[in-house]
């Protein structure tokens, strides 16, 4: 299409039929009629104009720089606006933003540096869509609603009703000002039943109201034709008001009556209260809040008394004794509670036995670690290098090739000479004292254990009460009781001090002394006592070992009692006692792993009773058990005392495992070995897979046919060099008898184990050999032979039972593990522009960052536009100002000029007049 822009515009306008050749008046009228008939024609015309405008403004749309995309590359519909590649309408958006700025920014600009002003909050004031009537109606309803919300129906005080009243031309609709009382509501109707405020009558009231209105309307109608219409209405209202006043008065009276009654009741309240809560102590009338004036104490005014009273009340509330005490429990309840506590403790013990984590127990941490490690082990793809200490085995033996070659590495060697035993006991005496110096830095902040009602605490408490005199008496007064035991002791902080303190006390009376120390230094008496008693409990452990090493046969009740004291102390000082025991075990390990003394045996026994031996892991029991097993496994008995010690440890090991029933291989080894060595005759062939040590010459039993079977005692554990043959035989028989009993008891403990058959078959063989071989029967006392054979029989019964209950192992009933797939994950609709970050966090971060950048740019752009707009506006304002100034200036100039010209003209005229005058004159 050729031609200029103007020509093209004309052409296109003509095409659309907007302009055309000039029409006659007739035609014009006809067109107008048509237009009126179909109003959308006007719209059509509008649209056509818009399209033409679009056509002639190429910058109205923002498009793709390289035109629309090919159909192939997009799956969007062809006719779409987006397909036409119109990306935006810059003109439109500019206009919009300009408009918006004018509304906000410009207003702000204009309001800048101005203080105060009016904000029009009237409803719909700025809304052009509302018609005036609508606006007014809406305003009225709002006002009504506001008022309605404020007043409650029964609010008698709220008499200000003017807000909710309809007005006309500033005057109230119902003219009742002259009455001087604004009170006016529905209740004021004359026909309302008086004194009735209940809700039940509401419907009735409404009905009445309706009737009344109808009546009034009828009246109105009747009086319609009469001239005094207004007056009658007023009369009606007067009546109504009078009635309502009466009604109100009545209500007031009823209310007063009620009040009186209530006050009466209040007065009678204290008596009533006493009746209701009889057990509650009668409170002084002051506190009941009675209406009579409080007793005023002389010299104090009422305010101070009140204040004091408040303080007292607060004090009472804060007092612990004011808290409700727990109800005294009945015997059954107590028993039940105790049973529950025991049950809970037992459950905890079982949990610990299984090695599970017990909450609030010290195993928690280690168990968690273990669990974590187990989890690691479960993960097949986490092929991290093997943790050396995965099973907590420690570092193992340091590699010492030369030492091993030279035979110094005696760890598993059986060629250990016997002198360790002899030297061990000597070492014990010195190191006993040294031990006391260690672990000074211990924290003694352990919680005092639950004060159990064991006899120790009872004794202590009762003693503390009875010996009240002792506490009050000066310290230098030293009283002794009938046994010669002083009542007061210093709290021994080392073993030397203890020996010094207990010097004059007979060993058998030591428990009494210990009890007195514990009573004297009970933690409740002094804050420092806790620390002292902690040390004392450690010292006590040392003392037990000390006494054990020098034992006499009548000391065992003492040792028992001391051990129980330690146990009771361990409840308050578990860490201290555990450390003391562990120190002792450490000393055994370092000095005499294979030469245990009687003191060691006593300590190991005490450990077994103080701590739960059934735990999977225990800081004290596990090392103790290891020490026992080490002796049993590695000691090659050279003398009968070694056998006796081993027998004691076997019993102890079995006692340790009596609950958890854990297997101790060393015990079997030792027992069978002992029987083999002591047997009068060597076994014809090896009975099993336990290592047999060649028995020392002269250790086999012979000629003990008539020896009585006795029990072993601790004297047998001491190395004795010169035993008479009879004593030796008696000891040997005792050992065999004890070991037999141990084997029997072990079989009873372990008969549930899966390899019980394999474990005890050798034992049966050995026992039968001892019981039946001709040389044995001739050399052993018949009592022992019977015992041996009966044990062998009972063992073989158990063996047969275990054989019957044996099943093939089915250890791996695990759910099969899923094999991890390595097939790569494919994206169905892959978009190269999109980021497929497998790391979700990173992807999220990148997204946020991009958004932030976008927002930032947008904000900058907006700010820039704002600035431009402001500039433009200020410029416009300035221009307008300048223009005004210019105009004004010009006007003034013109005015002055006009005046000047007028004056000049005046002058000219005057001059001419004078001239004329002069000429005349």
């Amino acid at each position: 299409m050729a031609g200029s822009q103007l020509k093209r515009l004309k052409a296109s306008l003509r095409e659309q039929g907007i302009i055309g050749p000039q029409q006659s008046k007739k035609q014009k009228r006809k067109n107008a009629e048509q237009l009126r008939a179909q109003p959308d024609k006007r719209l059509q015309r509008h649209e056509a104009l818009a399209s033409i405008r679009e056509q002639f403004n190429p910058f109205q749309f923002k498009t793709n720089a390289r035109g629309p995309k090919f159909e192939v590359t997009t799956n969007k519909p062809v006719g779409d606006k987006a397909a036409m590649a119109i990306k935006g309408r810059p003109g439109l958006s500019k206009a919009k933003s300009e408009e918006k700025r004018r509304e906000t920014l410009l207003v702000e600009l204009q309001r800048r540096n101005k203080v105060g002003g009016l904000i029009d909050r009237r409803f719909g004031e700025d809304d052009p869509n509302l018609s005036l009537e609508d606006k007014m109606i809406e305003r009225y309803t709002r006002e009504q609603m506001r008022n309605h919300k404020k007043s409650s129906m029964f609010d008698l005080e709220d008499d200000d009703e003017s807000a909710g009243r309809l007005t006309h031309m500033g005057k109230p609709l119902f003219d009742d000002e002259e009455e001087g009382d604004g009170a006016h509501d529905d209740f004021d109707e004359e026909d309302l039943p008086s004194g009735d405020e209940s809700d039940t009558s509401r419907a009735e009231r409404r009905r009445l109201k309706r009737l009344r209105l109808e009546e009034a309307a009828a009246e109105q109608e009747e009086e319609d034709g009469q001239p005094e219409r207004k007056k009658t209405k007023k009369e009606i209202y007067d009546e109504i008001i009078a009635k309502s006043k009466l009604h109100r008065y009545e209500r007031q009276a009823a209310k007063e009556e009620d009040n009186e009654l209530r006050q009466e009741l209040d007065k009678a309240l204290p008596e009533l209260q006493a009746l209701l809560f009889q057990q509650r102590p009668k409170e002084p009338s002051k506190e009941t809040g009675a209406p009579e004036p409080p007793l005023v104490i002389a010299g104090k005014d009422k305010a101070t008394v009140d204040k004091e009273y408040d303080i007292e009340v607060k004090k009472l509330a804060a007092d612990k004794r004011a808290q409700p005490a727990e109800r005294t429990k009945t015997e059954e309840e107590k028993a039940k509670e105790e049973a529950e506590r025991l049950k809970e403790l037992e459950e905890k013990r079982l949990k610990r036995m299984r090695g599970e984590a017990v909450e609030e127990s010290e195993e928690e941490e280690s168990e968690e670690e273990k669990d974590e490690k187990k989890d690691d082990a479960h993960d097949p793809f986490q092929a991290e290098p093997e943790d050396e200490d995965e099973f907590g085995l420690g570092k193992g033996v340091k590699y010492r090739p030369t030492a091993t070659e030279l035979g110094l590495d005696d760890e598993d060697d059986f060629l250990i000479d016997d002198d360790l035993v002899a030297s061990g006991s000597d070492l014990e005496f010195d190191s006993d004292d040294m031990e006391s110096e260690e672990s000074d830095d211990e924290a003694s902040g352990s919680e005092s254990g639950d004060d159990e009602d064991d006899e120790f605490v009872k004794g202590i408490l009762s003693e503390a009460v009875t010996k009240d005199a002792v506490f009050r008496a000066p310290e230098n007064r030293k009283g002794d009781d009938e046994n010669g035991i002083p009542y007061t002791f210093p709290c021994p902080q080392s073993h030397d001090e203890l020996l010094e303190a207990f010097k004059g006390v007979d060993v058998t009376k030591h428990p009494v002394a210990v009890q007195r120390v514990r009573a004297l230094y009970h933690p409740k008496l002094d804050s420092r006592n806790k620390e002292k008693l902690g040390r004392f409990s450690e010292v006590l452990v040392q003392h037990v070992a000390y006494l054990g090493d020098r034992f006499e046969s009548n000391w065992f009740p003492t040792l028992e009692s001391l051990s129980r004291h330690i146990h009771s102390l361990a409840k308050s000082f578990p860490i201290e006692v555990a450390k003391a025991y562990r120190a002792h075990i450490q000393k055994i390990t370092d000095d005499r792993p294979l030469g245990l003394t009687v003191g060691d045996l006593v300590i190991l026994t005490a450990i077994g009773t103080t701590f739960p031996t059934s735990d999977h892991f225990h800081q004290v029991v596990t090392p103790a058990m290891l020490a026992i097993a080490r002796y049993l496994g590695q000691k090659i008995p050279q003398a009968l005392s070694d056998y006796a010690t081993g027998a004691y440890l076997s019993i102890l090991a079995l006692q340790y495992q009596s609950f958890a029933k854990r297997y101790v291989p060393e015990l079997m080894n030792f027992c069978l070995n002992t029987l083999c060595s002591l047997a009068p005759e060597k076994l014809p062939e090896r009975p099993g897979f336990f290592p047999i040590h060649e028995s020392v010459a002269g250790i086999r039993i012979s000629g003990a046919r008539d020896t009585a079977v006795r029990q072993l005692n601790c004297n047998d554990c001491l190395p004795q060099h010169s035993l008479s043959p009879a004593d030796a035989a008696s000891l040997k028989v005792a050992i065999v008898s004890t070991i037999t009993a141990v084997l029997k008891s072990a079989a009873e403990t372990w008969h549930g184990l899966s390899a019980f058959h394999e474990t005890f078959t050798p034992a049966v063989t050995v026992l039968q050999h001892l019981a039946t071989s001709p040389k044995s029967t001739s050399n052993l006392p018949s009592q022992l032979t019977t015992k041996l054979s009966s044990t062998a029989t009972s063992l073989s019964h158990l063996l047969a039972l275990s054989r019957l209950s044996r099943r093939a192992l089915e250890l791996h009933q695990h759910r099969p593990l899923a094999i991890r797939t390595f097939v790569p994950k494919f994206e169905d609709s892959f978009d190269p522009d999109k980021h497929y970050d497998p790391d979700r966090e990173r992807a999220e971060l990148a997204r946020l960052r991009a958004e932030h950048k976008r927002e930032r740019k947008g904000a900058l752009r907006e700010l820039r536009k704002d600035a431009k707009f402001l500039q433009r506006e200020t410029l416009r304002i300035k221009k307008a100002k300048d223009e005004a100034y210019e105009k004004k200036f010009k006007r003034i100039i013109a005015e002055i000029q006009g005046e000047e010209g007028h004056a000049a003209k005046e002058y000219e005229r005057e001059k001419a007049a004078r001239k004329r005058k002069a000429r005349r004159g």
């Binding site: 340091k398 026994t605 225990h618 854990r662 899966s754």
Partner: protein
């Protein structure tokens, strides 16, 4: 004196004996003259004078004979003898470089006679020196003199440009050292010469080998000495280039045996073989086997020669077998030794003492190698597993700790053996029979052949029992066989080197931080018996042990 001389002659060998015959007259004459002179004056003063005179002119050569006489009188006065030896040493050290003892073809008859006479005196002097080595006080000094003589003789006794080592003299010295009662002498010799000089080591062991082979009956003491000497040779030179320390100047020729590492090794090997032919005590055998890999085998150029020794040791049984195992394995692996029924033998080593032995970890390392092949029959592997499981019932915790992870590795390698852990009865009848009769262990513990033990039909009840071992860590480790086998393999090295001591140390190193659990019931009685008629029952300890409560 003539008899003494003839003694020396026999020692010195054939060549010397011929010389002796030639110059016997001359010497007898001079002997007579010497004796006249030395009867008077104090001997200590005369020795320096005699030495000085020899230095002055050849006339006084007879003084040498006098000095030799003095030197030989060791029993009478060792100090004098030593002083004489010193003087003689100096004399000979002067004479030898001067060429006085070199036999030349073009020399006159008189000169030849003098030379021969001097050589005879030298032989005598050697004898005196060797005899001095058995003297407690002077042995080390004598050794220094002797070695100085050896050095000088090697260089100057012949007119050849290369030094010729005086083997006979040296053999005498070695024999004297070996037989000498002085221990410090041997130590001195070992540290200063054998370790110090490569050629000395070479000649020493050559001499030792001949010593051991030629003597009919070597007493046990000497044998021990030789044994210790050989065992102390632990630094094997790496290559021929490493042979750079020479006592006597190194030979020029490249092909000389002293320059060859093989020849060096051969000398030591010969010495070892000679010693082994004489027989070793049990303790010595163990020592040799223990040091086999580090000090013995590297010296052997032909380790096959050890074959008999090792197989003998291996068949002995007990710990000797354990020790011989690595040597035998080395030969099987490297030298293609055919050891019939190796695995049967290996199986027989798994006896009751094995897990208690101090060589346990060493054995397990080897066992891990032997059973490392995945081509072994599962039946055989199962036998080993079952046997060790049986042994574990009586084993110390440290052994159990080593065994179980090893089992795990074997199970992983030989999946057929996993039936030992998980065997579901297949048929209804089987199940019913199991319910009604229980089952015996099909394993035959006394069957020597690992292929016939029927262990593959058995189950590992033993390890399940050890899952309730008293030691928590052992129990935890034993539990790995009943958990899912998700781990590829356990590293055996982490589990091998444990003992009671190390386990205890690991326990005791844990600090007590949290208060330990205390038994909530304080027992009424620990050592005392319950009063008769009361409801409490005695603990096991009280019922089995007499705590004197009755008395």
């Amino acid at each position: 004196m003539a008899s003494a001389e003839s003694d020396k002659a026999t020692m010195a060998g054939k060549r010397k004996r011929q010389e002796n015959g030639e110059v016997s007259k001359k010497r007898r004459k001079s002997d007579a003259g010497d004796s006249d002179k030395t009867t008077h004056t104090t001997i200590t003063e005369t020795i320096p004078r005699l030495e000085a005179e020899i230095q002055e002119s050849r006339k006084h050569y007879n003084n040498i004979a006098t000095l030799v006489d003095l030197a030989q009188k060791l029993d009478e006065d060792p100090k004098v003898a030593f002083a004489a030896c010193e003087a003689l040493c100096r004399t000979f050290l002067r004479l030898l470089p001067a060429g006085a003892l070199i036999k030349r073809k073009d020399a006159s008859e008189k000169d030849t006679t003098v030379t021969n006479w001097l050589r005879d005196r030298l032989v005598d002097y050697r004898g005196a020196l060797v005899a001095l080595l058995s003297n407690k006080k002077l042995a080390i000094n004598a050794l220094t003199l002797a070695m100085a003589m050896v050095k000088a003789e090697a260089r100057h006794l012949t007119d050849r440009p290369e030094p010729v080592f005086p083997r006979h003299f040296f053999a005498d010295i070695i024999a004297a050292i070996l037989e000498s009662p002085v221990d410090t002498l041997r130590d001195y010799f070992t540290t200063n010469f054998i370790r110090g000089y490569d050629d000395m080591r070479f000649y020493t062991f050559e001499a030792v080998a001949t010593y051991l082979t030629q003597r009919e009956n070597v007493d046990d003491q000497t044998r021990d000495i030789v044994f210790d000497l050989l065992l102390s040779m632990d630094d094997v030179p790496a290559s021929s280039e490493a042979l750079d320390k020479f006592f006597i100047e190194p030979p020029q020729k490249k092909k000389h045996p002293l320059r060859s590492i093989i020849q060096h090794k051969k000398q030591v090997q010969e010495a070892w073989l000679a010693l082994m032919h004489l027989g070793l005590s049990k303790a010595q055998r163990k020592k040799v086997l223990g040091a086999m890999a580090t000090t013995v085998a590297p010296w052997f150029t032909q380790p096959e020669l050890l074959m008999d020794f090792l197989t003998d040791c291996y068949n002995t049984g007990g710990s000797t077998s354990l020790l011989a195992l690595s040597g035998v394995f080395y030969l099987i692996q490297e030298r293609n030794l055919d050891y019939p029924e190796f695995y049967t033998k290996l199986y027989s080593l798994l006896d009751a003492d094995m897990l208690h032995s101090k060589h346990r970890s060493r054995f397990f390392r080897l066992l891990d190698t032997f059973l490392g092949s995945s081509h072994l029959p599962a039946v055989l592997v199962a036998s080993f597993i079952k046997r060790l499981a049986r042994l574990a019932l009586n084993a110390p915790p440290s052994a159990i700790v080593a065994i179980v992870p090893w089992f795990y590795n074997l199970f992983k390698k030989h999946p057929l053996t996993t039936f030992m852990m998980h065997r579901v009865p297949r048929t209804q009848e089987e199940r019913e029979r199991l319910e009604s009769e229980g089952m015996d262990d099909p394993f035959l513990p006394n069957e020597p052949d690992p292929m016939e033990t029927r262990a593959i039909d058995s189950c590992l009840w033993e390890i399940v029992q050890l899952q309730s071992h008293y030691h928590p860590n052992v129990a935890t480790i034993a539990k790995i066989i009943s958990e899912q086998f998700t781990k590829q393999a356990y590293n055996m090295e982490d589990f091998l080197d444990h003992s009671y001591g190390s386990l205890m140390e690991a326990e005791m190193n844990k600090e007590v931080k949290k208060p330990p659990v205390v038994e909530f019931m304080i027992p009424k009685r620990i050592f005392t018996k319950a009063p008769p008629g009361s409801e409490e029952s005695d603990s096991l300890l009280v019922s089995l042990w007499d705590f004197g409560s009755s008395s």
